[in-house]
């Protein structure tokens, strides 16, 4: 295990008069483990808390409550949520991030070599310019950017796909343990998307990375992930091995998502997508199960009693009072 998230809560105060602040419950009591070397996918619609969860892991900003522990049980163990200032800074190179918009995540005034090499200049123990140069060249080459041509150019001279490659180079140059990818292909054309997804797989095995992959496209998330977490309104609905979760979705929301895809998954019926459009306000989430206001199976119990994650089998968990039973008929 490389990272443990326990009871993560992220709340943001909004508006109102002093003493009457309302609170956006962006992430509420989320716990999960990330195994070394896996790709953990987090999928959900906008506002479900998937990006907030990822950012809370890297303490940007630190969560309202809960624990995030890097390398638990080893001598490298670091409880990120207990660290501040210089102590936290020292841990940061072990976690890196890439973002959705590759162009705005690169400084337009700096050259590619400086963008990619900055982390090394700050962190490398023997900050010999020649060594840093060689390392930057190696990483650029690994992501498919020719350093002899590109290293002295600036981001505006590159396409979105190439900028995303440079972002990936900047993130892996420090050889982090965990790379968090927040919708890394959502802004790219479909013909470029596969290049970046394949590149992430290559980088993962070459540098021994663990990936957290956040996405809204169900097909993309399945393709890259070993395990998938489905989130809704700040809560985890279902966690499982990617193939197990897609072939036997147990939570009604997972089933709705799979049925709503432009080409619905074969494991659900397209008519299962028939739910209301209105997502409840995260300032005042429904009692009990947060999905109950749109759920076709909800009854009185769902309003009063919040479902907790329960194991369907060793590696498949669902938070629902009435999950779909696994099995070939599974209806």
């Amino acid at each position: 295990m490389v990272l443990r998230v326990e009871n993560l809560v992220m709340e943001f105060p909004v508006g109102g008069r002093a003493g009457h602040h309302q609170v956006v419950h962006a992430v509420s009591d989320v716990s999960f483990d990330i195994r070394r070397g896996e790709t953990l996918g987090i999928v959900g619609e906008s506002g479900c808390g998937k990006s907030t969860t990822a950012r809370a892991i890297v303490q940007l900003p630190p969560p309202t409550s809960g624990r995030v522990v890097l390398d638990p049980g080893t001598d490298q163990e670091a409880e990120l949520t207990a660290l501040v200032g210089e102590d936290l800074r020292q841990v940061r190179p072990r976690l890196q991030m890439i973002f959705q918009d590759p162009i705005s995540s690169l400084n337009p005034r700096r050259r590619v070599r400086d963008i990619v090499g900055e982390g090394l200049h700050i962190w490398a123990e023997e900050s010999d310019d020649e060594q840093i140069r060689a390392k930057v060249d190696e990483v650029l080459e690994a992501v498919g950017i020719d350093p002899t041509v590109a290293a002295n150019r600036r981001p505006h001279e590159f396409s979105g796909g190439q900028c995303q490659r440079i972002s990936i180079a900047r993130a892996v140059v420090l050889e982090p343990e965990i790379l968090i990818c927040d919708e890394p292909v959502s802004a790219l054309d479909v013909s470029v998307q596969a290049q970046i997804l394949n590149l992430l797989e290559e980088m993962k095995s070459r540098y021994g990375l663990t990936l957290v992959f956040i996405g809204h496209d169900l097909s993309v998330v399945r393709n890259v992930s070993d395990r998938v977490i489905v989130m809704y309104l700040g809560k985890v609905c279902e966690v499982g091995g990617a193939d197990a979760l897609y072939s036997a979705p147990a939570h009604p929301y997972t089933r709705v998502l799979l049925a709503s895809a432009p080409e619905p998954a074969s494991t659900v019926d397209g008519s299962e997508s028939a739910i209301g459009d209105e997502i409840p306000s995260p300032m005042d989430p429904p009692s009990g199960c947060r999905f109950r206001t749109r759920c076709p199976r909800a009854d009185g119990r769902c309003a009063t009693e919040e479902p907790v994650l329960e194991a369907l089998d060793d590696d498949h968990f669902v938070a629902c009072h009435y999950p779909t039973a696994a099995g070939p008929s599974g209806a």
């Binding site: 619609e45 054309d189 399945r222 992930s225 998502l257 432009p262 080409e263 494991t267 997508s273 739910i275």
Partner: protein, 364 residues
């Protein structure tokens, strides 16, 4: 072919820039019959949105437009020159991608829908507002009477897009152009909006042009599909035919490069190498040749025109997929290890990566 509603012939759009003439659309032709849906599929820069804007007379005045567009026997460019007021927004309307920027944030929803009824159909304010309420109900908005007096920011993205659709339907259009109508929306809402457009089209016998970058969206929803790349039509066919036997290498590559919801995780995707070309200056060969697995010497010098391959199926390619020339071209390229444009064929091999999580982790 009795009476096409819309006939587009040899449409071209160019923009003069400092770098040269950007040929955004080149020689696009299609017919659309009443009540039919045409799906236009392409990536950014393929010219699909510029085509839509040309039809809607929304291009800037410096755009260089060529070709002819005939709408039910009327010359559309002549109407544009005569500053025809009651055509766009009445008979032909459009729904855009982002519902927030399509709506005026400081006007009530009812006023915005009523506006076109008052301007184009001369309704009184009261009648127009009543009709707006009916329209909101038709597009599936709950509590329409209350919504009329709300502002766009009070509605969710899905409801806003329904309002935009209601505005587009207000004057009873015969052709609705929907340009990426669901790209900005969540997946559960996307399905509902596409279903709604489909139902309304059927109920009103309206024709529709559905523009998208997602082949999955047009599958099962469009009667015909046109695949565009770098301003050119690559392939056009009835939807079922296209998915059953596509002929253009670009169409095939698009389908193979997109992850499928039913394929197991870590299935290696077949990439399309490179990126779309900058469409400045005249292309000598096929615009897709530099990224194509099938490319032969001729593709570099001789731009392929659309040729028929069976009923209603057009394809612009010298070595179409599924034909003898295509099969020969691909196996020759595989044998040589490279295509006529110098692409390394090895990258197209489809293999499943077998990554053992624990093992690969030890390396870090």
């Amino acid at each position: 072919m009795a009476g096409a509603l819309l006939t587009v012939q040899d449409l071209s759009v160019g923009f003069l820039t400092e770098q040269g003439l950007v040929r955004a659309v080149e020689g696009v032709s299609f017919d659309l019959e009443p009540g039919q849906t045409l799906g236009v599929v392409g990536e950014s820069g393929s010219g699909k949105s510029v085509t839509a804007k040309a039809l809607m007379n929304l291009l800037p005045s410096y755009a260089q437009v060529g070709g002819t567009v005939d709408f039910d026997g009327r010359d559309m460019f002549a109407m544009a020159a005569n500053k025809e007021k009651h055509f766009w927004g009445v008979e032909m309307t459009m729904v855009f991608q982002d519902p927030m920027t399509s709506l005026n944030p400081v006007k009530k929803i009812g006023e915005q829908i009523a506006e076109s009824l008052r301007v184009h159909l001369g309704r009184s304010r009261r009648d127009a507002l009543a009709e707006a309420g009916d329209l909101l109900e038709q597009v599936g908005i709950p509590e329409p009477a209350k919504r009329l007096t709300q502002y766009p920011h009070e509605l969710s993205g899905g409801l806003r897009q329904r309002v935009v659709i209601a505005m587009a339907l207000a004057c009873g259009p015969r052709l609705l152009i929907a340009d990426e109508p669901t790209t900005a929306l969540d997946v559960t809402v996307q399905k509902h909006i596409l279903d709604l457009l489909d139902d309304l089209r059927r109920a009103r016998g309206m024709a529709m042009i559905l523009i998208t970058h997602d082949l999955g969206v047009v599958k099962g929803r469009a009667d015909e599909v046109m695949v565009m790349y770098a301003g050119h039509t690559m392939e056009e066919a009835p939807t079922a035919t296209l998915f059953a036997e596509m002929h253009h290498p670009y169409t095939e590559a698009l389908l193979e490069t997109i992850p499928r919801i039913d394929t197991p995780s870590h299935t290696r995707l077949v990439p399309i190498p490179g990126r779309p070309p900058e469409v400045i200056d005249v292309l000598d060969g096929c615009p897709f040749a530099p990224r194509c697995r099938y490319s032969i010497a001729r593709c570099l010098t001789d731009q392929p025109g659309l040729t028929p391959h069976g009923a209603g199926h057009l394809c612009a390619c010298h070595a179409p997929v599924g034909t003898t020339s295509g099969t020969q071209a691909r196996s020759a390229n595989e044998l040589a290890g490279t295509t006529a444009t110098g692409l390394d064929m090895a990258q197209f091999a489809r293999k499943v990566s077998v990554a053992d999580p624990e093992q690969s982790g030890a390396a870090g």
